[in-house]
Symmetry: C2
Subunit: 478 residues, 2 copies
C-alpha cells in the first residue's frame, strides 16, 4: 500500500515538473486508438488487410516527445522503407530469374550481404548520429520484403500496401504532434541555454558576499543552501548530450514562433559549450567556497573584498543580461559594459596585490586565495567569450535590436571612476572601453592596454591563459 | 571517384580501430540469413506462416554489439511480449462479452488507456534507464494483439505463434552473440577503466619534466605532442555515458573469463567517477603547462623542481601500478608506497615554500605556480581515493593476491630517506606509513602526522579540500 502511494507521488511529481508529459501521453493514446480504426472499418480493412498493423507499429515507434524527433524518425522510417522496398523488389526479381533451386540461395546471399554491410555502416559516427534508425529499418524492410516475397507472389502489391500504411501511420503522428499542443525541441534548446546562463549568474551574483563573509561560518542552513547551489551547476555540467540531441531534433522542425526553419542551431551548441566551460570553473570555485580556509587572514580578505565582490558581481550581471537577451531574443546591449566593469575591477585587484599587502603573508596561506582569484579571472574571460558567441548568434538569428539607450557614465561601488566610450568593432555590436581614471596618469599607455583588452575578444584558443597576459600587462604598467 | 575512395578509407579505419566491428556485421548477416530459413522450409512455414516475420524483426532489432546489450534487449522483448500477450487476450475476451457494438468501442478505450499510461511511465527516469524498450514493445504488442484479435478469431493461436517466433529470434541472437566471437560489455568496461588510468599516468609521469623545463620552449613538435596528450584526457572527461551504458549491459551478462555473474559492476562506476574527477584536475593542470608563464623566476622553479617532479612522478607511478593491477586483476600492492612517497614529496615542497624562498617574488607572479601546486596536491588526494576505491573493488571482486614481496627500503631520487612500516587497516589491505627521516627530529610528532595522513583515506566528501588541512598540519609542525 505504501509502495502504491509512493508510485502515485512520483507520478504526480513528474507531471507537475513538466505537464507536457501528461499531454504527450494522451496524444499517443489518441493517435493509437485512431489508427486502430483501420481494423474496425470494413472498407479500410478490405484494402489493407493485415498490413494495417504496420500503421500501428509505425505510430508506436515513431511518436516521440518533441515535434523534431517525431518528424526525424518518421522521415527516417518512410525513406528507409521506400528505398529498401525498391531494392527488395529488385532482389526478388533477380532471384526469381535463377530458377527454383537458385532462388532461396540467392535470396539468402542478398540478405546476408545487405545486413552485414548496413550493420557495418551503422558504426560510422556521422551516420550513427543521424541515420541509425534509417539503417535499422532498411535492414528490416529489405529482409521482410525480399524473403516474404519468396512465398507470396504479389510482391509489388505487398510493398505498396506496406509503404502506404507506414506513410499513413507516420503522417498521423507528425500532424498530431504539430497541431495538438506541440512540443518544439528548438524552443526547449533555446530555453535550456537561457536557464543555464541564469543558473551561473545566480552563483556569481552571490559569490562575492559568500566568499568574503563565509569565514568560519558553519551554519547548517547556509551549508544546505550552498549544497543546493552546487547541485544547480551539476545540471549545467552534464547538459552536453541533452543539448546535442535537442539541436539534432530542432533541425527537423519547421519554422515556429520566433524561430525560422533554418535557425542557426549549430551556434547554440558552440554557445552551450562555452557556458559549460564556465560552469567547470564555477564548480572549482564553489569547492573553494566550502573550504575551511580560515588561514587567509581576515584583514587581507577585507582589503580585497571590494574588487573581488565587484568582479563576480559584474560578471554575474553580464550573465543575467545575456540570459534575458537570449530569452527575449534581443541583441545584448549593456553586457559589454558589465564585462568591462569586471575587467576594471580585476585591474584594481591586481593593483592592490602589487601594492605589497601580501608581503607578510605565508605563501602557503595564499594558495586558496590566489587560486580563487585565478578562477575568477578565468570566468571573466569566459564571460567575454560567451558574450562574443551570443553576438554571433544574435546576428545569425537576426535578433531584434533593443531600443538604444544612451551610454551613460556608470557609477559602481568601487572608488575608481570609470567612463564608457563606444568604439566600432568587427561586427555590428558596440564595445565600450573603460578607462580607469582613478589610478592612472599616463593616458596613452592606458589606452594601449585597453586596446589589448579588446583584442582578447578575438582570441579563440581557449587553452591559453589569457589572464596571465592581462596580469602581466598591469605589472608592466607599474 | 575521390568520394568513394574516401569512404573506403574511412571504412578501413573503422575496421582497423576495432576489428570486432567486422565480425559483428558478419554475425548479424549470418543470423538474419539463418532465421530467413523459416520461410524456405515448408514444414516450418506451415506451422508459423506469416508470423515467422516476427523472428526476422526480432533479430534485426535485438542483435546488439555486446552480449549484455543483446541479452538485455532480448529479455525485454520476450518478457514484454509475454506480458502484453496475456493482457491483450484478457482485453479481447472482456470486449467480446460486450456484444457487437460495444466491442470496438471497448477495445479502443483499452488501447487508449494502456498506451497513455505506458507512455507516461516511460518518463520515470529509473524505468527509462533500464526498461524503456520493454514498455515500447508492451504498447506495440498489446495494441496489435487486442486489435487484430477483433478480426481473426483465433487470438490464442495468434499470440502463441507470435511469442514462439519472438523467442526463436531472440534465442538465436543470444546464442550466436555468446558463442561466436563474443564481445563482452563487462570486459570492455574493465579495459576502459584500466586504459583511462594509464592515460592519466602517462601525463603525470611526464608532467614534472615538462613543467620545469618548459620555460619559453616554443618548439612546434613539442607543442604538437602536448596537444596530443591533451586530447587523451578529453576521452576520459567524456567517458561517463559510455561507462554507464557498459555497466548497464554488463549486468545482463553471464560469467565469462575472470568475471563472475554478479561481478561488482557498480563499483566500477564509482571508480570511474573518481578517475574522471582526477582527469578534470589534470585538464586544468595541462592548461598551466601551455601557459606562457615565463613570469615564474627560473631560480625559484629550479629550487622547487625536485619535490614538484617527485610529486607528479610518484602519483603517476601509483596510477600506472593501479592500471596494471586492474588489468591483471591482482590486488594493488606497492601503490600505497607510491602515494606515501608523493605525500612526503608534498611535505618537502611545503617545507621549502615555508622556508621563505618566495618572499621576494611578487604575489601576481606566484598565481600560476601556486595554482599548479594546489592542483597537484588535489591530484595526489584523488590518487589516494582512487586507490581506496580500487581496494574496495579488489576485495568485492576477489582479486588475486600478488606474491607478497618483502617491503624494502625504497630509494627515490629525493634526498630524504623513507622507510616503510606496514600496519593493519580497516579492510584487508596493507597500508604502509612512511617516516621521513631526513627532515624531522621529533619522532613522536612525526608519527602523529603520519596517522593524520592515513586518516585522510577514510574521508569521503570529495568537495572539501583535504590538501588545505594537510598543508596546515605542516605549517603547525614547524
Amino acid at each position: 500500500m505504501e509502495k502504491v502511494r509512493e508510485i502515485v507521488r512520483e507520478g504526480k511529481r513528474l507531471a507537475k515538473e513538466d505537464p507536457r508529459r501528461v499531454v504527450h501521453s494522451f496524444k499517443v493514446g489518441l493517435v493509437l486508438a485512431l489508427v486502430s480504426s483501420f481494423y474496425y472499418y470494413q472498407p479500410l480493412y478490405d484494402s489493407f488487410g493485415v498490413n494495417a498493423m504496420w500503421a500501428v507499429m509505425t505510430v508506436v515507434v515513431v511518436f516521440e516527445f518533441s515535434v523534431g524527433a517525431t518528424i526525424g524518425k518518421g522521415f527516417n522510417r518512410v525513406a528507409a522503407t521506400l528505398f529498401a522496398g525498391a531494392l527488395g523488389i529488385g532482389a526478388h526479381h533477380l532471384a526469381s530469374m535463377s530458377g527454383a533451386t537458385g532462388e532461396p540461395i540467392l535470396l539468402a546471399i542478398f540478405v546476408f550481404v545487405q545486413a552485414a554491410l548496413s550493420t557495418f555502416v551503422r558504426f560510422v559516427p556521422r551516420v550513427k548520429a543521424r541515420y541509425d534508425y534509417s539503417l535499422l529499418i532498411f535492414i528490416l524492410t529489405f529482409a521482410l520484403i525480399s524473403v516474404s516475397g519468396f512465398r507470396e507472389e504479389q510482391v509489388l502489391m505487398l510493398t505498396h500496401k506496406r509503404i502506404s500504411t507506414v506513410i499513413i501511420g507516420g503522417l498521423s503522428c507528425v500532424l498530431i504532434s504539430i497541431f495538438v499542443c506541440p512540443v518544439w525541441a528548438g524552443q526547449d534548446l533555446h530555453s535550456l541555454l537561457a536557464s543555464n546562463l541564469e543558473k551561473l549568474s545566480f552563483f556569481l551574483l552571490d559569490f562575492g558576499d559568500k566568499y568574503c563573509e563565509a569565514v568560519g561560518n558553519d551554519d547548517t542552513k547556509e551549508v544546505d543552501k550552498r549544497k543546493k547551489d552546487f547541485d544547480n551547476y551539476k545540471s549545467v555540467l552534464n547538459s552536453k548530450s541533452n543539448e546535442e540531441s535537442l539541436a539534432n531534433f530542432a533541425k527537423w522542425e519547421p519554422g515556429h514562433g520566433q524561430f525560422r526553419f533554418r535557425h542557426p542551431w549549430k551556434q547554440y551548441l558552440a554557445l552551450g559549450e562555452l557556458i559549460r566551460q564556465c560552469a567547470y570553473r564555477i564548480h572549482a570555485l564553489n569547492s573553494y567556497l566550502n573550504t575551511d580556509d580560515t588561514k587567509v587572514p581576515v584583514e587581507i580578505k577585507n582589503k580585497l573584498r571590494e574588487p573581488l565582490k565587484r568582479m563576480s558581481l559584474e560578471s554575474g550581471k553580464a550573465m543575467k543580461e545575456m540570459s534575458m537577451s537570449l530569452k527575449k531574443m534581443t541583441k545584448p546591449s549593456s553586457c559589454d559594459l558589465h564585462v568591462q566593469n569586471a575587467r576594471s575591477a580585476c585591474k584594481s585587484l591586481t593593483n592592490l596585490l602589487n601594492s605589497g599587502i601580501l608581503k607578510e603573508v605565508e605563501p602557503l596561506e595564499l594558495i586558496s586565495l590566489l587560486t580563487a582569484i585565478s578562477l575568477l579571472i578565468d570566468i571573466i574571460n569566459l564571460t567575454e567569450k560567451i558574450l562574443e558567441s551570443l553576438h554571433e548568434l544574435a546576428s545569425a538569428a537576426k535578433f531584434k535590436d533593443k531600443t538604444e539607450r544612451p551610454l551613460s557614465f556608470e557609477k559602481t561601488n568601487a572608488k575608481s571612476i570609470v567612463c564608457g566610450r563606444p568604439i566600432k568593432c568587427h561586427d555590428d555590436h558596440v564595445v565600450t572601453i573603460i578607462e580607469d581614471d582613478g589610478n592612472n596618469d599616463d593616458t596613452s599607455k592606458n589606452d594601449n592596454r585597453s586596446n589589448e583588452v579588446t583584442n582578447h575578444e578575438k582570441r579563440e584558443d581557449s587553452n591559453t591563459h589569457v589572464h596571465v597576459k592581462c596580469l602581466c600587462d598591469v605589472v608592466e604598467c607599474r
